[in-house]
């Protein structure tokens, strides 16, 4: 088993219970912050990129060809390293995510969105590190970013409420999990994404599950939702369980 990162527990804890009954009084995400989570290494959060302390030294010697054409060249500082992985992710987005070929603005939009959203940025970096490096240290780096992202998401949920950045972050963490073959955690993140979306798009009808609507959500969120549907059916086939996200059929979409 070349990949051993477990993401199960943090995802378990971070989101409110799936499809929690409405209405929820006050902050719907109260009580979900777990500062004492045993799976969360506080030192990693404090230092940001602690797992990467030896990354650069071994990167050039151990680095196997990445899964895509060009990996980021070994940068010298944490900032440069982060920047390099971020750029790498954006340039390789088309190969890593569906639909991007048809919607080429995705990379630029994701970049600008993540500039103002630390949780989203960490989520991007987690996926980027996993894509770019298959060696142990690459995985450690990915895990570090994942933990940072989870911490920031929790922080945001408790202090600032929900926004579309959280939707995208949740999707990326789900994607991260599916890359590791962890469909259980992938589903938990999808469920979290759905909960956030429901908060952003409250339905007037009690029996209708909300799906993102172009009139209420940004174009990036709509596209991410489509990508999430794919993660959802992959997880569903794998687990033999009903998908998390509601059906999304355009009945009249024929030419």
């Amino acid at each position: 088993m070349p990949f051993t990162i477990s993401t199960a527990t943090p995802a378990n804890d971070i989101y409110p219970p799936p499809f929690a009954p409405e209405p929820i009084q006050g902050d719907p995400f109260d009580g979900i912050i777990f500062p004492g989570d045993s799976n969360m290494d506080e030192s990693l959060i404090d230092t940001g990129l602690a797992p990467l302390s030896n990354f650069l030294a071994s990167h050039s010697s151990h680095h196997t060809s990445p899964s895509v054409n060009d990996s980021p060249s070994p940068p010298k500082s944490d900032d440069e390293r982060t920047g390099a992985y971020f750029n790498f992710f954006l340039t390789e987005l088309e190969k890593c995510f569906p639909y991007v070929k048809l919607f080429p603005w995705t990379a630029a939009t994701l970049f600008s969105s993540s500039n103002h959203n630390p949780a989203l940025r960490q989520s991007v970096l987690a996926v980027a590190a996993l894509l770019a490096n298959k060696n142990t240290q690459g995985q450690a780096e990915a895990l570090g970013h994942l933990q940072n992202a989870l911490y920031l998401i929790r922080d945001k949920l408790s202090n600032a409420g929900v926004d579309e950045g959280l939707v995208i972050s949740s999707f990326l963490l789900s994607h991260f999990s599916i890359m590791l073959g962890d469909h259980v955690t992938a589903k938990k993140h999808l469920r979290g994404m759905l909960v956030v979306l429901e908060k952003l798009n409250p339905s007037r009808e009690s029996n209708r599950i909300v799906v993102p609507n172009p009139s209420n959500n940004t174009e990036l969120t709509i596209l991410i939702w489509r990508m999430a549907i794919r993660i959802d059916f992959i997880s569903s086939v794998t687990s033999g369980q009903r998908p998390i996200l509601p059906k999304f059929c355009l009945h009249g979409l024929h030419d």
């Binding site: 799906v211 959802d232 086939v237 059906k247």
Partner: protein, 296 residues
Amino acid sequence: MIDSSLPREQEGDHIEWIRKYADNNFVTDNAAWAEAWFAVDALMHQTCHISATVRDLRASPGTASDSKIRLLLDELNHAHQDWQARKVIKDARERESFQRMNDIFMNMQIRETEPSIRAESSPHANQASKPRRILDYSPIQIHDPFVASRLNNWRAAQLHIRLIQDPMWGVYDGARFFCALDLCRTHAALEEERTFLGAEKAVGLYLAGVVFGGPDMYEVFHDFVVESDKVGGVGVGSKAVERVGIFLSNCKHTFPQFEAGLEAAGELLGGYSKGCGRAMGLIRPNNVTLKKDVHL
């Protein structure tokens, strides 16, 4: 029951959204392709929903359940058939057919020319002489990897629908078998689109593995040694499938009766990670003697 499909009043918004945001500057068909790709993925997603519903209905058998199941499957089958009736799909398939005919015609001409000319003019002159293929089945030539990948999405949906319809494995079902075979042949021939979308491809391959019937019908052949230099050009797929192998190893609950098929699929993908697409050749019928030069 909760109606979880997209509200009809929102459909127009979504279609408008696609046409507005798909990049049509360079490829005029992009919006149509986006619609088609979204639709086939939504179909697979819907199939997963219906799979769960049908499983529940079968837990309480009766006329009402049977009628409901039939209705749901009819709906799925119609949606599946309708997808290939899209103009952009029909046009793409026509182009592909024309190009294949053209290839055949060119090959016939080339056979009649001098060997040196043949070498220069062959479209595969600089590539490995043998196109990738599965077992002894004739290889196919892919002209547009994007289109071929979408057709494989469509085939995966078809396999899933058929497995819901007839949840048996190891039985010969011509249409289902040939669909699985086409999916594998296409996958074998694909190169450019071997990207990180490996998990999705694994789903199709997994369903094909189930349809093939598992090790009782198709044994997994372990003894190939694949030279690493031959897979260098498709490293993307190789890496992705390493992960997919783990992904598949986590498949414990899907189609419990297909556990052996799952193992076969897992083995298939495990072998695949060593030798990329050619490991598709690791699956063979019992009664076929697999030669070492027949792999992908």
